[in-house]
């Protein structure tokens, strides 16, 4: 049981390049989330999904797209990378609410992205 994994761990892009970050979870969780973490700003929600085939915007969605074609995977895409997207990206997942699930999110190890 690997939990939540993220690929790649590190990446350097040039301005204007595109890339896709992959998040995978093997816990059969319904909900998945993408956050970015910047110094002094905590974690901010980019996009999230409440189930296969669904996505929704979070707090800072501009410049990003997502897809949830399979329940276990949640992809984050940058179509045209900008230096402002230099950040650490975290994926998280959560099961459908049951009283004992505790509303807890399970986090991946993060992807450190630098845009030059």
């Amino acid at each position: 049981n690997a939990g939540v994994t993220q690929t790649p761990k590190f990446r350097v892009l040039k301005t204007g390049q595109s890339m896709t970050l992959l998040c995978a979870q093997d816990m059969n969780h319904e909900y998945m989330y993408w956050y970015r973490q910047d110094p002094g700003m905590g974690l901010r929600l980019i996009h999230y999904s409440v189930g296969e085939g669904t996505t929704a915007k979070g707090e800072v969605p501009d410049g990003y797209n997502v897809s949830r074609l399979k329940k276990q995977n949640f992809l984050l895409g940058l179509e045209s990378a900008a230096p402002s997207q230099t950040s650490v990206y975290f994926c998280a997942s959560r099961p459908t609410f049951f009283p004992n699930s505790g509303e807890r999110q399970f986090f991946g190890p993060g992807t450190r992205l630098t845009v030059l």
């Binding site: 909900y31 989330y33 700003m41 974690l43 901010r44 999230y48 509303e103 986090f107 190890p109 993060g110």
Partner: protein, 115 residues
């Protein structure tokens, strides 16, 4: 919409001393409250959570937090810290059900434990 305030961006403390990390939230409805810890170059791990019931919540690694509804606070405490507690701590709030049960995070408090 809910929000979370962590007033202290950094808290230095000597080993074996007690520590309190402050968290205040704002919400017009009932909330679920969490503390997560992030060790250097790692993802976030859940320390403890408050959903309902007893207002004193105990978590892992000897940490505890007290939910105070009248003061809208959820401060994290540990009576005696260890060097290994050096990390960044995030308070988070989730509101109700539906809408993806999104978490709103505070800006984090860096706890630095010194010898």
């Amino acid at each position: 919409a809910q929000s979370v305030t962590q007033l202290d961006s950094q808290v230095p403390v000597f080993e074996e001393a007690p520590v309190e990390l402050r968290c205040n939230y704002s919400s017009s409805v009932s909330v679920y409250l969490f503390w997560y810890v992030q060790y250097p170059n790692q993802g976030l791990q859940l320390l403890l959570k408050y959903l309902s019931g007893s207002t004193l919540v105990k978590g892992i690694n000897g940490f505890e937090a007290e939910f105070n509804k009248s003061q809208t606070s959820f401060h994290l405490r540990k009576p005696s810290v260890h060097i290994s507690d050096t990390a960044e701590y995030f308070c988070a709030v989730s509101v109700g059900t539906g809408g993806g049960n999104k978490l709103t995070f505070g800006t984090g408090t860096q706890l630095k434990v010194e010898l």
